[in-house]
Amino acid sequence: MKKKNVWIANGVMAAMLAILLFLSLSQSTIAKAEPSPPASAQVKIDNFSFGPQTLTVLVGTTVTWTNRDDIPHTIVSTDGVFKSKVRDTDETFSFTFTKAGTYTYFCSVHPKMTGKIVVQ
């Protein structure tokens, strides 16, 4: 306690406050430039296709796929990052993207169906 008081007494506090102020200003500037990260995003499966086929989200976003076809589909990462069980009509699958990167995926039942999640 004593030492800390000495630090403050030495006037370092002022400098720290200045830095903090600067940082908070910078952050608020960034926050204004880009909307706050959405917690979730949706991909719809219609007519044997993923929509949107390419979805861009921020790190931390949970993406939920919903199968709206009369036929079951799967959502499978081509790199083994995620893999859903088979999803019948109106069933969903969710995955939270915690790392930036580009994630390609497909339906392992109908492999012509492909999609991409870009995580920034």
């Binding site: 044997f48 497909f106 039942v109 492999p111």
Partner: protein, 324 residues
């Protein structure tokens, strides 16, 4: 290719109705339900003639045996395109049991179940017990190997098979090859046979005489029926390459829920109707999803495929019948 086939349909049916077809070499056509089509392949020259819906099917035509192909029973499907797939499968079996000549056995070319669930396989097995033919040979569709990489399919149907469920057997001089092209599908790709299965197949046919009639059956078409909808198999050309020496090759598949035929050289390709629900003609809808038709029309686009083998002529006669 597929589009060409479709454009040929009206013309083909017209010709068939007038005087049948007898063309050398390459012949492709597509027939819709309501008109059965008899194929005979003799000496490499394909001929065909139309059958009316109720045309008599002349027993064995002097042939040695017949078998019936059924496909895509999708047990468990309950959407508007057919809320009662149990009834339509039973209707297919009743149709088979009413054939003038009882078939020696049945082939099921996959999508037995809709979601690979045990109770769905159970229901199909139960209904098949009412068939006059007791032997049923299966290959899996993609709906039969969901989630468990085909484990439950193999436990049930995989006895005496290799790999993911492929096998061959001989029947009165005809060599049958059941192939699996629904496993390990790659993003953006079509059906896949895979290197291990292809090696097995090459070895399987190597010792056979070129006069041996060959019947290949698999779920997804082994030709480019409509790749845009995934209706083809990436490495099918390699498989067909092993069959070049044979005078008579018949390739049967399901998956596309409609009759489509093509003859190329010594090979006749034929896809069967589903017993569950129809799918649209290639490119005529946004997707190959189940096609809804008025309830009273449903049975006219579901059906079975009856195949006669006539020894000595190396010929197989393929007749499609709807459930109507």
């Amino acid at each position: 290719m597929a589009i060409e086939k479709n454009n040929l349909i009206d013309q083909t049916l017209q010709e068939l109705n007038e005087d049948g077809i007898d063309r050398r070499g390459f012949l492709k056509c597509m027939a819709w339900a309501g008109t059965g089509l008899l194929w005979t392949i003799s000496g490499g020259i394909p001929t065909s003639q139309a059958f009316g819906r109720n045309a008599a099917h002349n027993g064995k035509n002097g042939g040695d045996f017949t078998f019936v192909q059924i496909s895509d029973s999708h047990m468990g499907f309950n959407k508007p395109a057919n809320p009662d797939v149990v009834a339509t499968l039973q209707a297919a079996i009743d149709k088979i049991n009413a054939l003038p000549t009882a078939p020696d056995f049945l082939l099921h070319t996959g999508d037995i179940s809709h979601l690979s669930r045990p109770e769905q396989f159970d229901t199909v097995d139960q209904i098949l017990k009412s068939a006059s033919a007791k032997d049923v040979f299966f290959v899996p569709g993609e709906h039969d190997v969901l989630d468990d990489n085909g484990k439950s399919y193999l436990e049930r149907y995989g006895k005496n098979t290799k790999g993911a469920g492929w096998y061959s057997f001989d029947k009165k001089g005809v060599h049958f090859i059941g192939l699996v092209n629904v496993m390990n599908l790659k993003a953006g790709g079509l059906g896949t046979l895979g290197g291990v299965q292809l090696e097995w197949m090459e070895d399987d046919v190597k010792h056979l005489k070129s006069s041996t009639p060959i019947v290949v059956f698999a779920h997804i078409p082994l030709w480019s029926a409509y790749p845009e909808w995934g209706w083809g198999t990436d490495d099918s050309a390699q498989a067909l390459g092993y069959l070049k020496k044979f005078g008579s090759v018949t390739v049967l598949n399901g998956h596309i829920h409609q009759i489509m035929q093509k003859v190329e050289g010594n090979v006749t390709f034929h896809s069967a109707m589903s017993t569950a629900f129809p799918q649209p003609k290639p490119g005529t809808a946004d997707s190959p999803g189940p096609m809804k038709v008025p309830a009273e029309q449903l049975k006219s686009i579901l059906g079975i495929t009856d195949v006669d083998y006539v020894r000595g002529h190396h010929s197989l006669a393929v007749v499609d019948s709807t459930l109507a």
